[in-house]
């Protein structure tokens, strides 16, 4: 197992342009929903570019990679999967096996020690607050309190946002 902590410069990029018109069926009508699509496009593009760069840096070809979609950022997992498949087309990742899994969110109160599901906290939130944590999941503590002790001293234990869980290279 090789641990990869940082990126050095000097390796080729494989950026792929995309346009939201490529997703006419996926493009939601409300501003809030469109925002989410654009945000997901941006992050998925970031994943594809970074995985490609890492493979270049390591001098290998990506055999498979696994992406986690955390509940807290409220991404549509089907859309993430579709974008991953579409955006990697024409890149060295095209032939790789991709797995996308939903990751359950757990939030721990550092004051009383109780752990909570995201759903226990999101209920009373306004649409604006949900949008805020869609972009910046840690701001959950700005708009929520522990249902047990009422403090806003949280730690997100898992399922915060989209992340790369694993990349397997053929050496």
């Amino acid at each position: 197992m090789h641990r990869h902590d940082s990126f050095s410069s000097g390796f080729a990029l494989h950026p792929v342009s995309f346009h939201r018109n490529d997703y006419p069926n996926a493009l939601p009508q409300s501003r809030s929903e469109r925002t989410r699509l654009l945000h997901e496009l941006s992050l998925v593009q970031g994943i594809i570019d970074t995985v490609n760069e890492t493979a270049d840096e390591k001098g290998g070809r990506v055999q498979s990679f696994k992406v986690g979609v955390g509940e807290l950022a409220q991404f549509d997992i089907r859309l993430v999967r579709q974008l991953l498949n579409d955006i990697r087309r024409g890149t060295p990742l095209e032939g790789a096996k991709v797995t996308v899994v939903q990751e359950k969110s757990r939030v721990k109160c550092l004051s009383c020690g109780r752990s909570w599901d995201f759903h226990d906290l999101v209920g009373p939130m306004s649409t604006d607050e949900r949008e805020m944590i869609h972009f910046l999941p840690e701001l959950l503590s700005s708009c929520s309190r522990c249902p047990s002790c009422s403090k806003s001293y949280f730690e997100i234990e898992g399922g915060r946002s989209v992340r790369v869980i694993e990349v397997v290279l053929n050496d």
Binding site: S9, D49, V51, L136, V167
Partner: protein, 258 residues
């Protein structure tokens, strides 16, 4: 077969690609709160933009953001395919967590603050910039450690301190960390200087001695200027740039304007 485990944080790749399009990343820090980092950062950003440079201002003070207030920025970042485009005010692209939190308290652990910073840096579409000024938070915690570990070319720092020993002692620690982290310090800026009735008081020598010890220039001595408070009260960046403080700051940082 190589397995690259979960330490592959794709946001770091996004950040690196964004910073490649930025000529100079200038960290404005002090270690101590209340010495004027935010006002120095905002004023410098506005002055550079006035001089025709492409400028961004990143508010890295995640717990106590003030850049949006100084620029009277209220418009949320615009979502696009390339990420979030910050609002441009007086020619400066301003990004702050407060554009999302809208005045709400921001109670975060150090780890949480780092996540917010990484997310903002990864998502913000600055485009091409000549300067990205980073208004740093007080303390030498996660935010400073994250930003001084980016290992990017073109990262430099300016250390702001008040003349008193409380400020210069903390600034000393910051300069030590910059030195050990190999982040070049452009120099020390003394802020809120009040002429001493007794010339040569020990407290007045602090910033100069600090600069001398670390072999960096004392870039300038910025006066205490009541006009700054008035401009800040009104969130009036034009009034801020017109102050005596701003004129002295422009003179002190003249090398950036060449």
């Amino acid at each position: 077969m190589t397995d690259i485990d979960s330490a592959l944080d794709f946001r770091l790749g996004m950040i690196r690609r964004r910073l490649e399009r930025i000529g100079n990343l200038l960290l404005v820090l002090s270690g101590k709160g209340g010495v004027g980092k935010s006002v120095v950062s905002a004023t410098l950003a506005a002055q550079l933009a006035d001089s025709g440079f492409r400028v961004g201002l990143m508010d890295a003070d995640i717990y106590g953001p003030s850049s949006a207030l100084l620029f009277d920025a209220k418009t949320p970042p615009e979502e696009g395919e390339g990420g979030l485009t910050p609002p441009a005010i007086n020619g400066v692209k301003v990004m702050s967590v407060d554009l999302f939190a809208s005045g709400k308290p921001i109670p975060l652990t150090g780890y949480g603050a780092r996540q917010v910073l990484l997310e903002l840096l990864a998502l913000t579409n600055w485009g091409e910039l000549d300067y990205l000024i980073v208004d740093m938070p007080p303390a030498t915690g996660d935010i400073m450690l994250t930003l001084t570990s980016l290992d990017e070319k073109g990262v430099e720092a300016v250390v702001v301190t008040m003349p008193d020993r409380l400020s210069t002692t903390v600034a000393h620690r910051v300069l030590e960390l910059l030195k050990s982290g190999r982040v070049p310090a452009l120099g020390v800026l003394e802020n809120m200087h009040r002429p001493s009735r007794r010339a040569g008081r020990a407290t007045d020598r602090g910033p100069r001695e600090l600069a001398s010890e670390f072999k960096v220039p004392l870039l300038g001595i910025l006066p205490y200027d009541p006009g700054v408070s008035k401009a800040v009260e009104r969130s009036d960046i034009r009034a801020l740039v017109a102050t005596k403080f701003a004129r002295e700051l422009r003179r002190s940082m003249s090398s950036l304007f060449d």
